[in-house]
Symmetry: C3
């Protein structure tokens, strides 16, 4: 058995505060907002099977019990008690919570209380800019307020997160946009925008990214569906600012993300969905990421969102996968037991503690 | 042991009606029309080794006997009796046969008789258009005859197949071309074309695809060599027409195909060559496809073509791979035995029966 | 146990002639020229762990001993004796050495003497052109001297190597540039260049590639980071010249490289870094390459460079990986023992002996 500390979940969201119907719960097992195909259910996925493996025992049921029985038990306990039991079963001692998703979701303090853990905030750049735009009257005030908001967030948050690569594609121009370019783009966006309108202008997305790079706080980049090697030029441009980049959600391009982490000192790779969404395959996918990435550059996350079951399957699946992969290598003589325990500790918690300066703050 | 029904082979071709020489047989083990490199043979491939594993026992020989001995036995039995013995050893009870490849190949009825199975036709769109062009004198009659031919095929076939992404690349413009555009392209193609000439004009390829989408019959798309994520825009445009898209031949981008199947309700992924061509690796590749794809969205096929040995290795390799993968997960406690049997039945036959409405027709 | 001959290492470099400090040694375990990230070390990588697995026993220490202890022992023995002990522990009987990297590196003769093996030279095209440019006064003399240098090298070397795809990206125009185009590009490059300046002009890179193709010597192409399918057009254009192309360094696109090797008779795939850099994962990665590539088209290499430890981990890791993969397939009944031994011999040495005509010269 590999020894492993309690986990730092370096990227997740809050959970819904309200009771869920069966269809709503199922939709959180799917990977998009649409319904399942006729004749199918999102329970018939690796995520669905992993939920039925890990979660029923935490609520007093046998593993793999039918979905209807599980949901009945969940309703019986209520949303608050279910969340408490589930989050306390994750083995996570620190949650880093991206608060930038819509919905009636728990914030970091509630996650901490429910899970008997610490929790810290990750600020999503695009939402921050949209909120600033909602309350700024002119281009000048928008840009000044935005700079101030980024600075203020950098004093309280542990990281910034960005979906620029999802909204625009990963092939963003790598260099920072010039001041005139930014003013022009801001003017056009603000003029066309209604309150709550989303930011997808590439110049403003890049402006945000470079504001975050300048803050010195680690910057988490959702890669979106596409080869993260398209981020090579941005990663190169962001070298030497003292800011770490953490690539989120690279699967099925996780080997490419590991490659980037291996050639850039300031680039890190998240294990999140690659492991959390693949259920019985988590160990196999984790092993692929461990091929090229330096072991000091990998960070566990659950990516959990909306229902605490996703935090559970992310964390329990990861722990089992890591034990299996490293345990096999020790048994084969490829790794020493001492090294395996040490690397397990790094990926489970130590790397995140160092990158996000969790012990210093 | 996982329980599994007899298989629906959702995509294959007929087998040659005539006796084959050694060189001809070997060419069907290769992946292109060229010869093997000097000093090498296509028998030294996973496909070649899989043929020697599964087929000799069906003809009364020991597994892995030398190629020359196997081919001698095949000649001794004759092409008809060999096909009968081999196809009856596949465990397939329904063949869906793409009749759009050249050569003296058996049609669905002959496949059914030889294999003691059912067989249904898949109509290849490009060949249909080429046949219509051979007998149409004007642009107007070509387009009218084509519409009629697509409609007629949709009444008898179980699916359309298209090689548009192979002939033009997967980055086809996603929307249907306008009528004027289609007439112009048809005029140019018909004027330049000789009898039997192939269709590769992108406007006409898209016209065909959208005719098929409008028919309501499932549309099988050969992805060609390239990332199926390039089909994202076409898949999105084809949403809501009630027509299912089945991605064929995505390996080595099978994880990307599984991703598309996971985010679009109407997109399905074929297991075909990914499993049929990889021999001893079939279980490993199958397991990768099972990471992200909802289990209701995966369809077995052999892709067999020309020699019945390819139908055998596709079917036997798939069955062994699925038993191994799901059996391991049950032994590890990751899946329940009940779920494993149920998912095996879905992938082996149930999903295909539902998508192609095989029980209704 | 699979039987395997001594290895032909079809692509490696020499080792440093001078003693190394701890930091310098560590830098050879990284994948780029930069330092490790703060708080991390390149010893914490699969390469680092593989070095600590395979090398200490060759120097009289226990496997997995701490880095400091290993480096102390290495200093105690001295650089020459360490190299001798390590290279004699590789199980390699022939090294093909790319002499085109900078640094005080041993040449083929010294590699042969240290390793008690044969060694032959691989000539790197771009360095050859740069050396010719250093001593040529005019465009005419440069082009004439270059043609002569390529011809001379083709009489003594066993292969050419090119980094054109790394310097320019793999999407080079596939056809040979015309004479006027080449003269123009040469004029501009020579005029702008200082002594020692690197060649990255795409026209001259293509000119070099086609000179190599015309020589008939196998041409090794470093794929660089990117999908080798971008080389499809060049591979097609180079068909029929009697010259073999060997794709180097395709990981994480090794399945795509195997695909190219499966459809072009003259294309081969290197196993090098895919296996040498992935340590405990070498067997898993090797198995992926064995999915599609004909077994006569795969070539072992270590890619070793600078420190002989990399030649050791490449060779020992490959041997163990191949024994494990093929051994498993034999135990499963997927392959016969005879076939497994035969394929092991092909990949370990036989294919390289045939492609590089090692027995003829």
């Amino acid at each position: 058995m590999i020894e492993m500390p309690s986990l730092v979940d370096q990227y997740c969201h809050g959970v819904l505060r309200t009771e869920l119907g069966l269809g709503t719960f199922e939709s959180y097992l799917g990977r998009d907002t649409g319904p399942p195909a006729p004749g199918t259910t999102f329970f018939d996925t690796q995520t669905g099977f992993a939920v039925r493996r890990w979660c029923p025992p935490l609520l007093g049921l046998e593993p793999h019990c039918p979905p209807a029985r599980y949901l009945a038990r969940r309703r019986e306990l209520g949303v608050v008690e279910s969340a408490r039991l589930l989050l306390r079963g994750t083995g996570v001692s620190t949650y880093l919570v991206d608060t930038g998703l819509p919905g009636d979701l728990t914030g970091p303090e509630e996650m901490a209380a429910a899970g008997a853990a610490d929790a810290r905030e990750i600020v999503r750049l695009e939402l921050l800019a949209e909120q600033v735009a909602d309350t700024s009257g002119t281009v000048e005030s928008f840009l000044a307020n935005l700079a101030e908001a980024v600075h203020a967030a950098s004093c309280t948050a542990v990281a910034f997160a960005s979906v620029a690569c999802v909204r625009h594609g990963p092939a963003l121009a790598p260099e920072p946009p010039g001041p005139g370019e930014v003013r022009g783009a801001a003017g056009r966006w603000l003029a066309a925008r209604q309150v709550g309108g989303r930011l997808s202008d590439p110049v403003l997305l890049r402006h945000l990214l470079w504001n975050a790079v300048a803050s010195g706080l680690p910057l988490q980049l959702r890669v979106g569906v596409g080869d993260p090697l398209l981020l090579t030029d941005f990663a190169a441009a962001a070298t030497g600012h003292g800011t770490d980049l953490v690539l989120l959600h690279a699967y099925p391009y996780h080997r490419q993300a590991a490659h980037l982490a291996s050639i850039h000192p300031h680039v890190y790779a998240d294990l999140g969905p690659a492991v959390a969404h693949t259920g019985a395959r988590a160990a196999a996918v984790l092993a692929e990421i461990l091929e090229l990435a330096p072991f000091g550059k990998l960070l566990f996350s659950s990516g959990g969102y909306g229902v605490p079951e996703l935090h559970v399957v992310g964390a329990r699946g990861f722990r089992e996968a890591l034990e299996r992969v490293l345990g096999d290598w020790v048994r084969d003589g490829a790794w020493s037991r001492t090294d395996a325990d040490r690397v397990a500790g790094m990926i489970a918690a130590g790397n995140a503690r160092r990158v996000y300066r969790l012990d210093a703050s």
